[in-house]
Structures are given as structure tokens and as C-alpha cells.
Amino acid sequence: MPEDPERKAGIIACSGEELAEGTVSRLAALKVLDSLRPHDTVTLCLPLFVAGGSEDRTFARLHPTITVDGCDLRCAARATELYSNKPAVSLVVNELVAERQLGKPEGRRQLNDAGKQAVEVTAERLAELVDTVLGQARPVSDAAGGAGAPAQREKGGGNCACRSGSAA
């Protein structure tokens, strides 16, 4: 659970393990968190809404959330609304891929080129949505750290709700 009282956007990816689009949702969320908007975003693990404590639900009630789903089932958006609060914005990878006329993402473990392109497009869209929900307006390229910035969450350990690496 992030403890920073500063207003941030929570990104909740479906991470659907069954589909390549789930992998796209996961990698796009990580790109925003690691590179595009590292200071403005945190990640929440979707399963923790059910299996975890109340901290994650509370965070999602108090902060704007953006869900990114791989498919039309929209598990992340529906679960966020069911267990916490209605997301400020919901994004569906399938729809974005169709809208941008990209190729079909394939390879849930190792994405094909179309999948990698979908990650880039989805991440950029997510970054724009972060700015919108936080009331900021700036181009993606102005983000702190830039696209080549190293990941910061793993080192800091404060932006992940599950802390799955802390006991290692």
C-alpha cells in the first residue's frame, strides 16, 4: 500500500495470463510506472482487492484509478468498481488495438512485434490519461525520467501493494 499522501493515480492492470493482450496490459502499466510517469503513479495488484487487506481498496477510493484490461471481459475495471470505487478511466487493449489499426498481439510469454507496438501505444495512452485525471497537461516526452529512465519501484519498494519481493 503506497503511504505517500501526495495525489497519485493508481494503475490497475488485468495482467490476464491467458492472453497476449493481458501481457500487453501488464507491460504497458509497468512502462508508465517505471518510465513515463514514475512520480505520478502507483500500481495496485488486482487480486489484492479480494485476497488482501482493506488498504488497497481504501487507496482506490481516495485516489483516481485507471484500469487497463486486455479484453472485453474488463475484469480490472469491473473488479475495481465492485470492490472499491469506479475507475476514473478504463482502457481496453483490444479496443485500442482496433482503433489504431495495429496488428494482433500474440505470444503471451514473448510478445510478437504487434504486441510490442501495442505496449508502446497503450503506455502512451495511459500516460495521457494519468495527466488528465491528475489535472496536468503535458506531452508524454516531458515526463520525469523519460522513456529510458531506469525502474525505480523495485529499489524503493514503496509503490507496490503486494510487496512480493520484500521477504526475499
Partner: protein, 144 residues
């Protein structure tokens, strides 16, 4: 008597923020795509979070392997909540304790040690999958 084999449902953690979540996911893929592709079925944890009927039924009707990335144990908790009666719980943290040299790092892209930890974990789960998959032959398996 004909012994029918069941599919073994594999449900990894969806942890997005730490390397051990990625290890659970990689171990599940290794198990389902390479080591036992014909007897396993991967089910996305997000579907169980939402109570997807088809996924709940799959979990309830088949033996399961839940792979937890951290002590919150989301995968195993949700499998049980979804009606999973025969569930083996595997924990990445336990695998890491058995293989201390394999320090997993990286999330979007696991380092070599993390990839190896996932492979080792998947290989260790093969015996469990085989036991769970053979109807009536699950004695000795560890059920959580």
C-alpha cells in the same frame, strides 16, 4: 476400469510490482507451455477475482496448482474461494529459500537468475501435476 485423466489448472499470482510475481507467472508458462502442455490449463487470476463463471467451474472441477508470489497468497486464496477442492499451493518464496543463489530481479524482464528460478520451480511442480492429473492417483500430493 478406465482411469480418466483430468486437466490440471494452473493459476499464477498476478503480482505486477515485484520480481517474484513475475517468477510465478514464468513458472506457470514453463509448466503449461513446455513441460506439461497437454495436461494443464492456465487460468487467469483476474477472472477469478471477478467471479467469472466458466473459470470458477474449471477450478472447481479440476485439480489445481496455485503459484503464489508473496505471503499475501492471492492465487491460493482465490482458487479456494472459487471452489477449488484439490489445490496444491506452491510458493515462490519457498522455492527461493531452496535455491538461495537464484536471486530474481526485474519485473517486465526477469534477469537470468529469475528465469532459472522459474524453470526450476516449474520442473519441481511436474511431479505434482502428474499426480494431480491422474484420477485417483493424487495420494501423496500436498494439498493446501
Amino acid at each position: 476400469m478406465t482411469r480418466t485423466k483430468q486437466r490440471v489448472v494452473v493459476v499464477p499470482c498476478s503480482g505486477i510490482g515485484k520480481a517474484l510475481g513475475s517468477v510465478s507467472r514464468e513458472a506457470a508458462y514453463e509448466l503449461c507451455e513446455n513441460l506439461r502442455p497437454h495436461v494443464t490449463e492456465l487460468v487467469a487470476l483476474s477472472k477469478l477475482v471477478m467471479g467469472d463463471n466458466a473459470s470458477r467451474e474449471t477450478v472447481a472441477r479440476n485439480p489445481c496448482v496455485a503459484i503464489d508470489g508473496c505471503q499475501r497468497s492471492c492465487a491460493s486464496k482465490l482458487v479456494k474461494q472459487s471452489g477449488g477442492m484439490r489445490t496444491h499451493t506452491a510458493r515462490v518464496l519457498d522455492a527461493l529459500r531452496r535455491h538461495k543463489g537464484l536471486k530474481a530481479e526485474g519485473i517486465a524482464e526477469l534477469n537470468d537468475a529469475g528465469q532459472k528460478l522459474a524453470r526450476v520451480m516449474a520442473e519441481e511442480l511436474v511431479e505434482t501435476v502428474d499426480a494431480l492429473g491422474a484420477s485417483g492417483a493424487a495420494k501423496g500430493a500436498t494439498y493446501a
